[in-house]
Symmetry: C2
Subunit: 163 residues, 2 copies
DNA sequence: TGATATTTTGATAATGATTTTCAATATCAA
DNA sequence: TTGATATTGAAAATCATTATCAAAATATCA
């Protein structure tokens, strides 16, 4: 997969901040861009460790932070403790619907909702910066189970259940 | 302030769950209901400690969890690490606008947005459960400062700046 | 009431994700 | 190259939140 455009963005960002290019940084970016799901720092660490056996934990966190700063990555914090990261490679702005039973994640885009959010900002005299919208519900696959009386089961610490 | 109705809800919830009534639990509820802002567990702890010098940390967390379960309290997780709690005493459902400069918080209600969210749930075959909407922007008070070139200053760990 | 069983409590240790520290190594500019 | 500076991995530190546990409080029922 060609990720040159993103690599260039990252390189330029590093240069602009007078930071240094490094094997790990670029390597992590490539690996990250080629995985199309929302990863925790730990998941990315495990995957990247295969290619870079010496890779350290902290480097993953440090690099993800840089990627967020230059707009190639977005940090998501759902209802559980750990942060997840999604890259913006071939994705436009979107919000998320999360199934509270199986953890399934759907990306949604809706112009109306974006417009309305802008209006709310204006109405309260705020200069819009960003927003976060998460919809929690039960997906079709899980609905039968839910209606069989498991609906009240609580996911541990509000974490999207399952995988 | 009369919080009898809420106290009754809590008592009945405890009874239904075969839990015991206790001085601390009711005391915390009263203190919590009489503060009209979004508290962290630690803030509530410090405040309640004045009335109950022996109060322990864990009890505050435990009680807040119970209050959430019985619907008197809602846990909020903004972009920083710690959870905040708001009671639903005299408040209907609302979302939040947060100023990323000063941390000011505004509660917003908008029927259109609620409707649209329902539609999104339906469109993707989800059975709605709850949602979370947070709008991050810069409030009027902070706009002059922002436009003076401080706009790029980063709040620590994404936490709403200031107090 | 009082005895007993069960919960709750506070203090403290444990947890788990993320950050910091620091000495060794890599990168860059001249 | 060289010297200055940034990055790295490992390990320790942080910070919010939870679990543990013995003592105290509360409920049950004889």
């Amino acid at each position: 997969m060609s990720t040159e455009k993103e690599e260039k963005i990252f390189e330029e960002f590093l240069a602009a901040k007078k930071l240094k290019h490094s094997e790990q940084r670029l390597g992590l970016l490539k690996i990250f861009l080629n995985i199309d799901r929302h990863l925790t720092a730990d998941e990315l660490f495990r995957i990247a460790k295969k290619k870079y056996p010496d890779l350290g934990f902290a480097t993953v966190y440090r690099t993800l932070k840089l990627l967020c700063e230059c707009g190639l990555c977005r940090e998501l914090k759902f209802e559980d403790a750990k942060a997840r990261y999604e890259h913006l490679y071939g994705h436009k702005h979107h919000d998320h619907i999360i199934c509270i039973k199986c953890g399934r994640l759907v990306e949604v885009v809706d112009a109306n909702i974006e417009d309305l959010q802008e209006k709310l900002f204006k109405r309260h005299g705020f200069h819009p910066q960003r927003h976060r919208l998460e919809l929690y519900g039960v997906c079709t696959k899980c609905l039968p189970a839910a209606s069989l009386g498991f609906a009240e089961r609580r996911a541990p610490r509000g974490e999207p259940t399952g995988k």
